[in-house]
Amino acid sequence: MKTFLRAVLPIALCTFALSLTSRAQDIVVGEFASLTGSEATFGVNSSNGVELAREQIDSAGGLLNGRKIKIVLEDDQSKPGQPSAAVKKLIASDKSIAILGEIASSRSLEAAPICQAAKIPMITPGSTNPKVTTIGDYIFRVCFNDKFQGQADARFALENLKVKKVAILADVKSDYSQGLQRYFKEYFTSHGGVVAEERSYSGGGTDRDFRAQLTSLKSAQPDAIFIPGYYTEVGLIAKQARSLGIKVPLFGGDGWDSPKLAAIGGSALNGCYFTTHFSTQDPNPKVQDFVKNYQAKYKVMPDGMAPLGYDAMMILGDAIKTAGSTDADKIRDALTKVKNFEGVTGSITIDADRNASKSAVVLEVQNGAYKFATRIAP
């Protein structure tokens, strides 16, 4: 018994001491993002947004009587398998009270069951696949979902592009792309449109040659081509489509939203459109403040992922304040009550399914710049 006490007592004392000091310590928020790999700009820009929000919360006096936020950021390399390892580490070893991440739906879907099982609230800034928040009642999102985005794309095609016959080229490896394709098709075909031909490719840096698919899409003679993919592939697809003599407009979703899109695709993307979460040209002072602060800190213009990261962190901060504690269950309950939160990407209300209902903007690519085209309300 004596030896037992001798062994255990110091440990117990240390733990006690640690728990005392940690009371005044930082609030640890875990974040996983694709800082490298084929969707690297998504992770880099959304985590920049998170960092900007953290800085503003801390300089405004922190949370819960002056406690600062500490963000532990893990890179998942845009690869399947990495998010689960990252999130397990963030929860078990860093003791995060909440998790922020990812943009790509496939990777959020991988991490969500782990957060749900550990009962740690997870907020995805930009995963739009509807399945993500159905994993469980601890999973939230601050962006619109693909059911809405697919409809928005279809409405844009029918009402603005005024096309009735489209072809689709989708990424078979991405939950995001598959979902967007399905919801687009549902709305488009039930409102008088025709899907002339569908082809798929493997994303994530696997396929680089799309001429085979594009050649067969071309012979279906569509009025426009819907490409629900990510920017690296879309840039290459646009180039190859133009060199094959396909002149119709290409359009897609927020997976296109990266400065790299135009850098890879160049002039081949002129007159192409995509739906996304925010436009830097929005005159709303909240947006303009964000653009100004972001540019001052990072010396580049924000894309659509940066404000989503910012809003996710701001909403989490707000929920911690409402909860009045770092208890995961109380934060979760506070998140369910977020209503009309004025974010940079619009007014955010978390609904009963833990989704945010928001409008989408459509941007047009012109000579490497993304110009505001129209806004599509929910």
Binding site: T41, S200, S202, T206, D209, R211, A212, S216, I264
Partner: protein, 304 residues
């Protein structure tokens, strides 16, 4: 499928296959000499693409206007020399010390070198995909009727063809080529005849890596987004192409590459595009079931 679409897909397939062929040559040559698969070959291909990426903005300004084609050739040659040196250094440092060890040891080392280049590349170049500079303007040729053939496709084809001829001449007509064939035939006997095995092996690695470097540049011109992991899949596919053609056989590697490119393209253009790689590889397994040594393997053409 209309006739036009068929021909267009054939062009697409052959131009994709040209890349596989160019990379497959390196696999097949090394196998011919050393009987081992250099898994780092696909990553030398990646280094070729990055070589072009960094050389283009430094070389091209010196060759403005009409001299531009000369500049392109200079970039291509410099990259090939660079890759040849890298290939030789890899052989000297990683493979030569293990030459008398079991083949498995060398094979695992090759995988290690491959990972080193990939993740070392991420560290040095950064992991995000980079847009590739336009070394030659990618546009469709005129007067091809309903078919489209682009300048980069033609360039890839012409360069592959020229390199294949050059390689055949080197192997068949030069003294070093003869030494390569001798070492391939029987290394011990060759060394007894006074052939320096180290020189021959080093030369083979240099030659194969130079071809991979050329393929890297041409590939990046056609698909202008490069990253340190870009060599992974083309490397695997080129390896399959080499096996398909009969590994160790030079014309076999070229034909295997073209077949793989065409099969992939036709499946990708069909309604089964979702299963593109699955169907393409199933077909290859089918071919290998009937010709286990590959298409040219049985004929016992000189192995190099």
């Amino acid at each position: 499928m209309s006739q036009i679409e068929f021909l267009q897909q054939l062009i697409n397939g052959l131009s994709l296959g040209a890349f596989y062929a160019l990379i497959a040559l390196g696999y097949t040559m090394v196998y011919g000499i050393l009987r081992f698969i250099n898994f780092a070959h696909g990553d030398v291909f990646m280094l070729g693409a990055f070589g072009g990426y960094y050389l283009t903005p430094r070389i091209m300004p010196h060759f403005a206007g009409n001299l531009a084609p000369v500049g392109v050739v200079v970039v291509l040659l410099l990259t090939m020399i660079l890759c040849a040196l890298i290939g030789m250094v890899i052989e000297r440092l990683a493979y030569r010390p293990l030459r008398s060890r079991p083949k498995l040891t060398v094979l695992i080392t090759a995988i290690g070198v491959s990972l080193l280049l990939e993740y070392g590349g991420q560290f040095v170049f950064g992991a995000d995909p980079k847009p590739y500079p336009e070394l030659i303007t990618d546009r469709a040729l005129e007067n091809t009727g309903a078919l489209t053939i682009t300048t980069t496709q033609v360039a890839a084809f012409v360069v592959t063809f020229l390199l294949l001829i050059a390689l055949t001449l080197i192997v068949k007509r030069t003294k070093l080529g003869m030494a390569m064939r001798a070492v391939s035939n029987n290394a011990t006997a060759a060394s007894l005849m006074g052939i320096n095995i180290d020189t021959v092996v080093s030369f083979t690695f240099g030659l194969g890596s130079a071809l991979a470097g050329a393929a890297g540049i041409l590939y990046a011109l056609s698909y202008p987004s490069i990253d340190p992991l870009m060599g992974l899949l083309p490397g695997v596919k080129a390896f399959v192409a080499a096996v398909l053609g009969g590994i160790g056989n030079i014309p076999g590697a070229a034909v295997g590459g073209l077949i793989l490119g065409v099969v992939e393209t036709f499946v990708g253009g069909s309604a089964f595009s979702t299963y593109r790689d699955a169907i393409a590889f199933a077909l290859l397994i089918g071919i290998l079931l009937f010709r286990p040594a590959g298409i040219f393997g049985k004929a016992q053409v000189e192995k190099v």
